[in-house]
Symmetry: C2
Subunit: 402 residues, 2 copies
């Protein structure tokens, strides 16, 4: 071990973000290292959601569309979220799911590059991104081709869709360099920032489009709405093929034909999921007080510490980049029996997750994970492996039914 | 007046649905006739949503995907909703918005009729349905054409999209007759049941696809998830071009390529909006105890009574069908100054809504609107018009800024 627990407690004491842990509800005895999958519950969220249900809906009824601001939610929430991803006001809409926003962004990009018929994905993208590309190509009628980012970028490439941080390994692309290369090839760049938003200073401002979810590091709750960034240089020309009534220039005129709204509103689709928005709004109330540079600095420190501690006590193989600059806020190790290892860890209160075939994945949400948590998690992992506790019959049984 | 208030109180007393009014939270002094736009809050919903937030999310965290049933929500909620629209288990998925489901259903229908290039809409559809058709045609590249249902059904028609009940006037199509005519022409029938589900015995079983929302008569809450019915005869062949990870045969295998799930799951898209689902689930707990034949009988009685009372006391022109068989659960009258008339009504506690240019719209949700409510609403409307209370300067001012 390179540091002891007291040293970690000292780091927690000096942590400029230490006050935020109290803003979350976390189960007793759990070190929750899955905030990269579903972020923890902010303490003020239940009251905010209850208000949306009982006051906005219950008392205002249909009047809530105006009095409670539901009508404007996709845009007002987008404006509040924008600073967290390096965007400005009028550049982000919130709503629907990440998958739907992939379809919107990539189909819009294709229409902005009409002569080009290649969409570049990435075999390491979260699968739904690639699946949505397949569905889009199917919808468009087969003239389009999907290629992998590992292949050369020809002048037939219309759009490239990549995840800033890889969902399995936590590997992070060099966003400015990749964006510049893609755009130099005449293609448009769509960044998926699902695994970076809320964990670092995301900067979408070079991108043509960006998409992401709000239920991981941003703590918007299970199935919280997604977001879509459209660079201002495209807002006059980009088209939203999912052109629902919210995207209309005058939604309440109920005109027979579609006329797109000016600006970012044209990238909304339809009625927002108001109760899910309420939870996201509570999270944003908190995020407005967070310095993202402090979040990133702590994220780098936590992930580096975890790697140091685990490597000092085990012979696990690191599956994440060692260079913190090339890493998101998660650390992965491989183990051939990763599933029962993770079950044994969870049984001891250390919650990570397992990704087939052999990835042990640990996410570090800097607002509610501290240095002593990292120490305790590493020590538990070392104990589970050193004493071969995962060979316990009950974990083997669970493995058999997975 | 054809009946007096005491007679209406007598009808309320004999109403087999009278117990349901207590299952809703309704503001004191309001007769809420906008349940056709946003249904009222069921009394048990706040507790159910609070549980989803604080227990399912707060305590179970990412484990909620299994322990709280989030993973299966689009299908389990679909199965619970199915009986309300005449569908069976494994035929309905819940999620996304009505607009997104229009895109899914119509694009799937087109792929099932590859030689045909015409989509038939209806100028009286809720505009978002038509807007989504426009966006779909744009996405597909212009080979397709949108035609109106008033035109003859040629053998080039692939799919027809109609609303069972018209959102403005409440006019109701003869679903079996229209479906038979469309299918006899070799086209597929997509029914939008947004304005009929929860107000009558909807029967989608003849349809090829059906879509609808759950926040009107079904009381799922603002922005509650939509639903999509796919007739079993199409489930093996129909394709979902919004093919997100939920639609994959093995969502957690994280395979590189898309393989559609068997059955209705292939029409899901991605992560459900869990908190919005919780509110819908609370509403379905109530709906499982409702006899829809009783709902429809009461709906016909309420709307007929309202027409009788208003026509006996005013010279307003009815904009809804007089035949209850051809009418949904709403009644519309036209008035050239409809906006200030409605403002004056709302000021007196009678909440309807106004649809440009001249429609006064009143929806009657049979679970929480009674006969005496109808009497009081009609009397208030008669008073507002008879005493020309809507000419009050404050309403005129509001009209000027609309």
């Amino acid at each position: 071990m390179t540091v002891n627990r007291d040293a970690c407690l000292g780091l927690d004491d000096q942590d400029p973000l230490k006050g935020f842990k109290d803003e979350f509800v976390l189960p007793h005895g759990v070190i929750y290292l899955v905030g990269n999958s579903l972020g923890a519950l902010p303490r003020r969220t239940p009251e905010r959601v209850a208000r949306a249900v009982s006051e906005e809906w219950g008392r205002e009824l249909v009047g809530g569309w105006n009095s409670a601001g539901w009508y404007a939610q996709p845009l007002t929430t987008g404006d509040r979220l924008a600073p967290l991803i390096g965007a400005g006001a009028g550049q982000v809409v919130v709503g629907n799911t990440t998958s739907i926003t992939v379809f919107q962004a990539v189909s819009a990009a294709l229409r902005l590059r009409p002569g080009r018929r290649v969409i570049v994905g990435d075999v390491t993208n979260f699968p739904t991104d690639n699946y949505m590309l397949e569905g889009l190509v199917k919808a468009l009628g087969g003239d389009y081709e999907i290629r992998d980012f590992a292949e050369p970028l020809g002048d037939d490439v219309a759009v490239v869709l990549l995840s800033e941080v890889n969902y399995r390994t936590g590997a992070r692309y060099d966003v400015p360099a990749v964006t510049a290369r893609v755009q130099a090839a005449g293609a448009l760049m769509v960044w998926d920032v699902c695994h970076s938003a809320g964990a670092m200073q995301v900067d979408v401002s070079m991108a043509d489009f960006a998409i992401g979810c709000t239920y991981k590091y941003l703590n918007g709750g299970p199935g919280a709405p997604a977001f879509l960034y459209v660079n201002p240089r495209h807002q006059a020309d980009a088209e939203n093929v999912l052109s629902g009534w919210y995207a209309h220039a005058e939604p309440f005129a109920f005109e027979a034909g579609f006329r797109p709204a000016d600006g970012i509103r044209r990238f909304t689709v339809s009625t927002p999921h108001v109760l899910s928005f309420a939870a996201l709004e509570a999270a944003l109330d908190m995020w407005e007080r967070v310095d993202m540079a402090e979040v990133r600095a702590k994220s780098v420190a936590l992930t580096s510490l975890f790697i140091d501690l685990v490597e000092a006590g085990t012979d696990l193989e690191l599956a994440s980049p060692r260079d913190p600059e090339r890493r998101g806020s998660q650390v992965c190790f491989t183990h051939p029996d990763g599933y029962p290892v993770m079950r044994a860890l969870i049984d001891r209160g250390v919650h990570g997750d397992f990704r087939a075939p052999d990835i042990l994945r640990f996410g570090f949400a800097p607002l509610y994970i501290g240095y002593a948590d990292v120490y305790d998690a590493a020590r538990t992992l070392i104990e589970v492996l050193g004493k071969e506790l995962w060979r316990d019959e009950k974990y083997a049984q669970r493995l058999a039914v997975t």
